[in-house]
Amino acid sequence: MKKYKVIKTYQEINDKIRQGKAVVVTAEEMIDVVERHGDVEAARRVDVVTTGTFSPMCSSGAFLNFGHTSPKIRASKVWLNDVPAYGGIAAVDCYIGAGEVVEGDPLNSVYPGEFNYGGGHVIQDLVAGNVIRLRAEGYGTDCYPARKYERTITLQDFRDATLFNPRNAYQNYNCAVNASDRIIYTYMGMLRPRMANVAYATAGQLSPLFNDPCYRTIGIGTRIFLGGAQGFVAWPGTQHNPNVPRGKNGVPKEGAGAIATIGNLKEMSPEWLVGASILGYGVSLYVGIGIPIPILNEEMARYTAVKDEDIFAQIYDYGMDYPKGVSKSLGETNYKELRSGTVVLNGKEIPAAPLSSYLKALEIAAILKEWIERGDFLLGEPQQLLPSVSE
C-alpha cells in the first residue's frame, strides 16, 4: 500500500462541492498548478480536474421506446427518417446506431460515397427537437396484431430515450498516414498518397482517460458530462485493453482503455451530439464527453498534470498495413508535435490535422468546471473501477 501525503475521499470532495467551496481546474490549468507548486501542494489545493473530448465516436447509439400503439405492434423492423434501427428487442423498443446509413444511400458505389445521412444525424435531429418519421413493421401475433405503424415523432414524444454508447473516449488513438500511391478515404478522413498528410484524433492533454491513465478513479458509476447533460460511465468500453505499452508516466502509447457511457437523451443537446459524414467511409456521431477527475492524492495530481509532449501515439499506414490487419507502427509521435500541425516521420515533415475538436474539448472542460463550482454536479463514486494494468 502506497503512502500518500494527501488523502481525500469522494465524500469530502462532494461536501465541498455542495458548499460551493470545491477548487476545480481544467486539465490544461492543472499543468501549471503542478509545475508551480509540485504535486503534493497541488493535491492539497485542487479538488477536481475537469477534462473534455469531442470526437467522432462510431460506437454510439440510443435505445428508444416509442410507447405502445393501438392496436399493438411487435415492431421487428424500425426506421427513423428511413435509417434502420435495430428492432430485435421488445415490442416497441429499438436501438438506433450512430453508424447506420440511411436506406437507399448509394454507399461507395459512387466512390467516394458522401454518406450524407445516418443514425448519428437522426440522434442529432432528435436532440435538436426536429420531427422524425418513425416507421415500424411487425409480423403480427395474437397479442401484437398490427403489422404496420407510421407516425411523425419528436424526442419528447418517445416514452424513453437513452443514449448508450458501447465504446467512447478511447484513451489513445492511431495516427493515420497513407503510404500507397493512390488517395484513400478512411474513417480518419481523406489520406493523400505517399504520406502527404497525417490524421489524428483525441484531445491530448485534455482527453479524459489520459488524465487518469491507470483508471484509479474512473469506473462504473462515474458521473460525466455526456452530450451536454449529466451521464454515467456504465462499463468498460468494448475493446478496453489496459495491457499495452505505457510510458513511465503510465500513459499508454497506443489505443488502450475505453468507456461505455449512458445518459438520458432527452436532456442532451445538438451542440454536443453532432452527426458526421465521413467521405468514402460512412456516418458517425461526434460525442462530447467530459470526466471530472477527483484529486484524491498527489498521485492523481501528477496524473492530471500530464502534458502533450509526454503523451505518445503510433503512426500507422492505412494504405496497406491497416486494412490487412498488420499493426506495424511506422513511427512514434507525441501530441505536442501533432497539435503543432507538423509531424516528422523518417526525417520527412508531414502536415498533421485532427478529427477531434480541441476547441470543443476546452469548452466541455470549462462547462464541467462551472457545473461543479456551482454545486450542480457531484462526483459519482465508482462502484467498481475499470480493469487496470495487471500488476
Binding site: 458522401e114 498528410n197 503543432s340
Partner: protein
Amino acid sequence: MYSKKVVIHYPAESSEKPIIYELVKRYDLMLNILKARIFPRREGILVLDLSGNRENFDDGIRYLKSLGLGVEPLSKSVSQNTEKCIHCGACTGVCPTGALSLDRESWRVVFDPELCNGCAVCVSACPVRAMEVDLL
C-alpha cells in the same frame, strides 16, 4: 500589379465567345484558370486568378459585365458556415492552398478566402458539411 480570384458565370448564349483571348489581347491581363465548366450552349462557370495593372483589370471586368456575364470575387462563392463548424480541423489536412487553417491560439478553424482557389475538396471532407461552395 493587381490580382484577384474571380468567378465568371456564363449564360448559355455566351458560352462560345472567346473571352479569355480578349482578356489577354485587349486588356493585357495575366490569368490562371483554376476551374472551368463550360459546355456548348449551356450555362457555365470559370474561376480565374486574374492579374494586371489596376486600370486594365477594371476595364477587363467591365468588358465581361458588358457581355452579360456574372462576375464575382471567388471569396463570395466559398464560405464557412460558422453555425455548423465544430472546429475539428479535418479540412485543414486536405485544403491544398492553406486557406483553411487551425488557429493555434484559439483552436478555431479559420477560413481565408483570399487563399482559396475554389477546388471544393473541403466540402465533402468536412464531416459536418460546414463548408459551402457555390460554383454550380
